[in-house]
């Protein structure tokens, strides 16, 4: 168990900058999730912490010790890989015991530690099997067990659930969270799935093109995204963005509808951000509402997501959420009330958040 700290960590391949200086202090036992679209540098960052990738500049400390030039084995970390990377010729027991054996653990001690980890992951009856005799979910658990049994300073996960089917992913997600709580080992977890990120994380690092756009708790990020990228990436369906102008006592939307002017804004162009769940159908049109034409309805059961177009002839697409039993028909025109307490205002030029909530 240990703290983990990154200070202005950068990575350059030849002339391309892949990681542009990431800094974070992770507390002992904290679960931090790195989330971002594919290719944004999540794996690279994680692999630098693991020691599988060289650090171009900056420092990485594990438990207060700078590990920049240490081999993975000297860093006291364990990693769970996307494709599990189980040794195909070894039994589940040997897969889990391999790292311990190298570390010099022998005999009853070895057996006891493997047995304990196997029990936590419900693998006790599978110890004699080879990886090819296991299902995807079981392989995933063995990969977890291999990390768990070492009792390392930190766990590193690189998209460990992305090869599982949706149902298994949800149950494994809960299991990982529960396990991490119980062993209280500092964890760094990479995923491109924002639901996974939100549900697992104590804190999130939202990455985009090698930049850590925002580092905060899931709810902080949901409530106050630092910029339009974060706002659009976290939350499903994504936040609606509407170009607007601050003028007089109004916030004038591109289709001509008016919202009350939020406090503390100068006149000029901004982007109004509204999450689908903060738009509700309203009987009357007028100030503070939007008028939209329904294009398509996605029914999920409890909820439905309505895809619509702003204004009579507008070009802005908008998504809002309605109860599953109260769906508007396609082609109809409806009015939507905007929850004024939950709107976000972004600078049109820098895309940074200026106000809201």
């Amino acid at each position: 168990m240990a703290t983990l700290s990154l200070k202005d960590v950068r990575k350059t391949y030849g002339k391309t900058d892949v990681i542009h200086g990431v800094s974070i202090d992770i507390a002992d036992g904290e679960f931090v999730v790195i989330v971002g679209p594919s290719g944004c540098g999540k794996s690279t960052l994680l692999r630098m912490v693991a020691g599988l990738e060289e650090i171009t500049s900056g420092t990485i400390e594990i438990g207060g010790r700078v590990v920049n030039t240490l081999e993975p084995r000297a860093r006291d970390i364990a990693m769970v890989f996307q494709n599990y990377a189980l040794y195909p010729h070894m039994s589940v027991f040997d897969n889990m015991a391999y790292g311990l054996r190298i570390a010099g653990v022998r005999g009853d001690d070895l057996k006891a530690r493997v047995a304990k980890a196997a029990e936590m992951l419900d693998l006790s009856t599978l110890l004699d099997r080879k990886p090819r005799q296991l299902s995807g979910g079981q392989r995933q658990r063995v990969a977890m067990g291999r990390a768990l049994v070492r009792d390392p300073a930190a766990f590193l996960f690189d998209e460990p659930l992305s090869n599982l089917d949706a149902k298994l992913r949800v149950s494994m997600r809960l299991q990982i969270k529960d396990l991490q709580r119980r062993v209280a080992t500092t964890s760094l977890y990479v995923t491109h799935d924002q639901v996974e990120a939100m549900t697992l994380a104590d804190r999130l690092i939202v990455m985009n093109k090698g930049v850590a756009e925002q580092i905060a708790t899931p709810m902080e990020i949901y409530d106050a995204p630092a910029n339009m990228f974060v706002a659009g990436f976290i939350g499903s369906p994504a936040m609606n963005f509407l170009p607007a102008t601050v003028t007089g006592s109004d916030l004038l939307i591109s289709d001509g509808s008016r919202m009350p002017r939020p406090a503390g804004l100068q006149d000029g162009g901004v982007i109004l951000g509204v999450r689908p769940e903060h738009l509700t159908r309203s009987r009357s049109a007028g100030p503070g509402t939007l008028t939209v034409r329904v294009l398509a309805v996605e029914t999920l059961g409890a909820d439905a997501f309505v895809h619509a177009r702003l204004g009579e002839s507008g070009s802005e697409d908008i998504v809002f959420r309605v109860p599953g039993h109260d769906r508007p028909a396609e082609g109809t025109v409806v009015s939507l009330a905007v929850d004024q307490d939950k709107v976000h205002i972004f600078d049109a030029a820098t895309q940074r958040r200026i106000s809201g909530m």
Binding site: A50, G51, L52, E71, P72, R73, I77, A78, M79, F81, Q82, N83, Y84, A85, L86, Y87, P88, H89, Y98, G99, I102, A103, R132, R146, R150
Partner: protein
Amino acid sequence: MAEGMVGTSKRSIALGHFLLILGCVIVAFPIWYVTVASTHSIQTILNPPLPMLPGAEAAQNYGEAFSGSITRIGGVSVERLLLNSTVMALGIAVGKIIISMASAFAIVFFRFPLRMACFWLIFITLMLPVEVRIMPTYKVMVDLGLIDTYAGLILPLIASATATLLFRQFFMTIPNELLEAARVDGAGPWRFFKDILLPLSATNIAALFVILFIYGWTQYLWPLLVTNSNSMNTIVIALRKMISFADADTPWNLVMVTSVLAILPPVLVVVLMQRWFVKGLVETEK
């Protein structure tokens, strides 16, 4: 697996079997013929046509071969010849496997200066079989004093681009994650090789061993050059020496016995390792 290509109708199955049996007969016939010949007396052999069925002299011919008749011809016992051939074939097979695995390991898993240059150097030697470089190789062996030694028989045939390429291709199919998992588990290069690469290569090694053993066993030109003393001859060379130019002087029955003995070890190797061999050729266990 192959069903799709040929079809499964009765006729095509029958045709398939017919072709297979025909192939077996064609391949097996010379072996059968030699075996039959080794059981007849020399008079029968010299009086064509040779019968197609075994004769009654088997015990006598084989007894004679082992009790010293071949020794009288070449001055060396048949056991010694078999030993020489075995040492040479084993040496070449094991040596080639060790060298080629080590070089493929270096080329695939390590980043060192001139890595690709090394790879291409090895690759180019593919174009230089023993026969092409035989003069300089012979000179080197003479200078090193390795004429009439097992080392002289084995060493020049060990360097192997083919096997290196084979292992390189196999190593490159090993997922990078596996290597990284081993590194995180604390395995250094040697441990990774011993604990992971070697077991995963087992079927490949077995297949290669069979092929290389037979390659070594059937060497002719190099052993002929590098051995002067009869006691260092391989069985293939001795077989050739038993055949005198005057037909009547050649003890054909014993030549046939020696032939049978000469093909027995490679056949044994193939039969004993057949399961592994086939596995290594057709599947990669992952």
